[in-house]
Amino acid sequence: MTWVRRLLAIDRRIIFLLVAAGVILPLLHPLNLPVTVTPRVKAAYEAIDALPAGSKVLISMDFEPDIMAELMPMSVAVIRHCFRKHLQVIAMTLYPAGTGLGERAILQAAKAEGAVKNKDYTWLGYKSGFQVVMIGIGENLRGIYPVDFYGTPLDNIPMMRGVNSYRQMAMVVNLSGSSATDYWIQFAQGRYHAPLVVGCTAVMATDYYPYLSSRQILGLIGGMKGAAEYEALIGTIGDARRGMDAQSLVHLIVVALVIVGNGALFLSKRAGDSGGAATGSMTR
């Protein structure tokens, strides 16, 4: 059974090459696999879809460039959907490095849907301190954001007239890759009862199922796959849908590696040698 032992002791760099190929090839030669929509993303879509035209939606894009792969396509898709339904978007971020990204997302969506600044959307920009900002919006939005990102006083922005707390907003959408989501649940939803929709990284997604069940959040968009589903729902093709083939392929590779690794270990054990020892310190 030397081949089994050799397989178990395979250089990790060969596995790395396999993964690299799994990403690069489908990007160069797309297979265009279909995207199926899951119920939680549908719920998020429907929650926003059901709002009457002219409602205000607060969208907080709380992410930095390192995880924009997952959250940027999602942000663009959600904002485009809002514009299509003629909802007025109030956008902000709780991360300093999210300022450029948030602005890019909203401009991209506005361009695609022909939305107009200060009439269809307001870009508030960044303010620091999760709790401070969230409680501040609940009490007095102008205390936190006296002016928008471009320095225009909120009172001079037509769509912001009469809007000064969650009470004048029909929904809060949090697109985040961090514990900011926990605070939106605790404060915007818990303390001020704002209806909340969450988009987050795939890693975080499973943690928020209890809050879905308790209706503390109305819908959940998880990761690039969630974003691809949202793109499918509004009928656009963005970076998320383009990446889905590679996603499928790498998942298959990882699954195959788990199965082969376990299979080889099983075989080598049956052959009587301690197959685990050859594989380095990880198998302890």
């Binding site: 009172d155 037509p158 009469g162 818990g190 310190s281 990880m282 302890r284």
Partner: protein
Amino acid sequence: MLRSGFVTPALDTRWFDPARWNILIGVILFTSFLVINLLRARGRKELYVRPIAGSKALDEAIGRATEMGRSVLYVPGLSDMSEVGTFAAITILYRLAQRVAEMGCDIDVPCYDPVVMTVLDGAVREAYSKVGKPDAFRPGCVHYVSAQQMAYVAAVNGFMLRERPAANIYMGSFYAESLLLAETGAMTGAIQIAGTDKVTQLPFFVCACDYTLLGEELYAASAYLGREPVQLATIIAQDWAKALAAAAVVAALALAALGHTALMQWLGVA
């Protein structure tokens, strides 16, 4: 002109929010559980808390590092002082640093949050003084690296590969960095012990470390390591609260099935 459209929402002038009665009662109940158990602990010496496997391994790890003449790396999680995991990390380091000082090996604590750094630095100094070796403390062994997650990981990974600590101990709140750190640590052959309350990261620690404290075990370990009655009392108070919570759910379900929904509604947060 545009200003005229703005309506100031009515200012709230209530001094208590009646919708929050249940939370207040919850806080009062839990506080009393804590106080009762603290008093019990003072009266009796022995309170039972089940042993936690990973906590025993900590001593073993320090022993091995001392034998090999290499250092111990302590990663206190990537969170700030608003997170319980960080407090557990502080308490555990305080105990661990005493052992390290006694055994006479070196410890390195790279920090993510500057406030946590200040606190940990104080805790380690205190630990060295407590075992009577204040001079053995190496200033700068607790140091700030970066409050940007991946910069922190890059630096700590580099440190592990170049300095080759004999033991890597990860305690506190961890996020995406867990597997990157633990895999690199495993590559260097160090003995690795992890504990985190961020359950998403547990599978990765479980796979790449020798011992892992699961979720709440992290808090329990910080209490267990000291074996001080006061700390153990808090674990028991939490257990009481869990039992009460489970009972409340069962009771609310049973009552609702019989047509009484008052308890169910009372639990609801407004």
